[in-house]
Every structure is written in structure tokens, then in C-alpha cells.
Symmetry: C2
Subunit: 206 residues, 2 copies
């Protein structure tokens, strides 16, 4: 406590409060959990708070889109596009980087990705030129892609975009899409009617 | 994308992943929501990510304990201790700064606080000398405190601490504690038996 002059400005606490308000703008944190996070960090200043602030500055300055696929990277091309083994003739088209990370977590896909950067949306005025669709056609030729796998959300905009992408690459590669059905561990009683209907229509023989 | 040299280090993405792992150490964020928070910040670098990192550096350097009450402050004494109107002869004893903030949110207490900095705990080897109890006795004399209000958790350690503090200040001020009972909006069916019993014993005539 020594070494600090007496400071009587009334808004001194405002800086802690302002930090909590900024934290509360992160998804998953509300005002209360943001305050708890600030207290948690203040109890771990050297081990967490300062390194976290440094990492945020670092990543904010370094992160950019992979010029090939649109994935987040700190290099010009991302690690997936740099890995030769992943040039297996398959490209998985996803809406955003969050979807790419979800696919990677599942660990089931061994090819490369193409991040559209959004979905077609008449309501939000997002057209084909706002998405990374022309670049996809170039990659199919350049990288010898045989199959384009659409991993887009099962929403109206997602399915509109899927049809548009399928039309755009028609003739240059085969197009497939993720199966719809009962999630692993899903109980029928808790599933919506649309999913049950789709799972029934796509039933397979055992 | 121009102006960056080609960078082929394989751990380039590691910095984004490392940031997500640090974020996941905050309470209220898991690995998945931490990744979502990183993506959210990267889409708002100048408006959120950089200001947030700056605010964290700022608060990490400036925040300290109020020399009077133990509240978090960026000044030597906190805003509550500096406000003359709050020297109303009442001191509310709380476990930590989170409890102090919860009391302030409720807006029902107009006096000053005393943050113990923890609870007595035989299991965790926390004794009276580890808490801010001696300082409380000094404040009762210095600030003309008439009533000490204990706002400590209704746990074994909380109640042990409450009894210890009550004994320590006996004779110099009256001691009271928060009422126990049915929470506002609480339904009896969802309440534990202990709370119902306490509410029944503390019943009051209408």
C-alpha cells in the first residue's frame, strides 16, 4: 500500500466498473459473471490478468484470414492449408470459423475447409458477392478437388446458401451435405418434429 | 493481407488457441464459450479487443485494497469510505468484495463496509490473524460505530466466523446479522428443509 499518493478522484472505482462492463459484452458473460471474472483476475494478476491482456494485444495484432480458405490464422495461410496431407480432394464448406473449429473438434474430416464468411440472406442484404464463393470455384480447379461437402446450418438461410453453392460448383465437383437425423445420445421424446421427420425419411437398412 | 511476409511456422495458430485457453480459466467460461468469446473479440478488434486488453493492464496495475475497509479501489481509500454520508454509525461485515458488490447492488444499506478477506476455516488453516478482524475493532472506536451488521454466508465457516466476530466486538457495538427465511419470489416446494425451518422459527406477526 505504500508508494501511492493519496488519490481523491471520485471516479477511481469507475475503471474497475468499466472493465466489468467491457467483459460483460463477451458472449457467455452477463453483468454478474463479468464482475466475478474481474475479481478472479485481480486475485491472479501476474498469472492470469497481465498474460491474458498481453495475449489479447498479441492476437489482435497478428490474427488474420487465411488467404486460401478464410480460416483464422497468424500466418498468411493457415496450418490446415499448409498441411500437404489435407489436400485429399475434399473441401468442406462452412459458414464461419466457429463451424470450422466445431468440425475439427469432431476430428472426422481429413480434408481442407472453405469458410464462406456468412450466409446468403435477403433480409440482411447479404448477396453472393459478400461471401467467399468465387474463390471456391478457383480452388476446385487449382487443388484438384473432387468432392465439396456442405456443412451449413439447417436453417432457411443455411439451406438457401447450400443450394446456391451447389449450383455454383456444379459440373466441376460432386456436392454432398451433412446428414440430418437423430443426434448421438438424443432421446426421441425431446426432439423436434422436423428432425424426427427428416430422420425417418433418411432411414437406412440395418 | 499485404505487407506480411510468408510465415510458415507450424505453431502460428497456437497463439489464438493459447488465448482461448487463458479465457477458459475465467469463471463462467468453458473451453467452448472461451473460443466463441475469442472469435467475438476478433470481429471487434478496435472496439472491444484492444480496449479490453488496455483496461485489463490498467486495472491490474492500479487496483488495490482500500486501507480502511479492504474494498477494491484504484485509490488509497475507496469511494464508499471517502463518502462522509456513509459514516452513519453502521458497519456491514462481509466475506469478500463480491459480497460487498452484492450488498451495493441491493441498494438497501447506507453505511460502510468491512471486508474480512475470507472466512475462518480449520480445514483450510485460516485463523483470525489471516482475516481483517483486528482492524475492525480499531474502526469501531475511530469511526463511532454503533452497530455491526454481519452479512456472512449461511455456511458452517460463515457462521463460525460470525460468532468469532461477534465475540471480538462485544461491548463496543451492538451486533446483528442478516435475517434467514424464504427468498423473495421463492416457492416453498423448491426450498430446502433448513430454510423452511429457519423461516418458521423466525416467523413474525402480520
Amino acid at each position: 500500500m505504500t508508494g501511492f499518493g493519496h488519490n481523491s478522484e471520485d471516479e477511481a472505482e469507475g475503471r474497475i466498473e468499466a472493465l466489468a462492463e467491457m467483459m460483460a459484452r463477451l458472449p457467455g458473460l452477463g453483468p454478474r459473471s463479468a464482475r466475478r471474472a474481474v475479481l478472479h483476475m485481480l486475485q491472479r494478476r501476474d498469472l492470469l490478468m497481465t498474460p491474458l491482456a498481453d495475449a489479447m494485444h498479441d492476437v489482435a495484432a497478428a490474427a488474420r484470414e487465411c488467404v486460401q480458405c478464410g480460416n483464422l490464422s497468424t500466418a498468411e495461410t493457415c496450418a490446415i492449408c499448409r498441411e500437404e496431407r489435407r489436400a485429399n480432394g475434399e473441401i468442406c464448406v462452412v459458414e464461419d470459423v466457429a463451424s470450422l473449429w466445431a468440425m475439427e473438434r469432431a476430428g472426422a474430416f481429413r480434408g481442407r475447409y472453405h469458410v464462406l464468411g456468412g450466409l446468403l440472406s435477403a433480409l440482411d442484404n447479404v448477396g453472393p458477392d459478400d461471401l467467399r464463393i468465387p474463390r471456391l470455384r478457383g480452388r476446385i480447379a487449382d487443388e484438384g478437388v473432387r468432392e465439396v461437402i456442405l456443412a451449413l446450418p439447417a436453417t432457411v438461410d443455411g439451406q438457401t446458401t447450400a443450394h446456391y453453392v451447389a449450383d455454383a460448383v456444379e459440373g466441376s465437383a460432386t456436392v454432398s451435405t451433412l446428414a440430418q437425423g437423430v443426434p448421438v445420445g438424443g432421446e426421441l421424446d425431446y426432439l423436434d418434429d422436423g428432425t424426427i421427420g427428416a430422420a425417418l425419411r433418411a432411414r437406412r437398412s440395418l
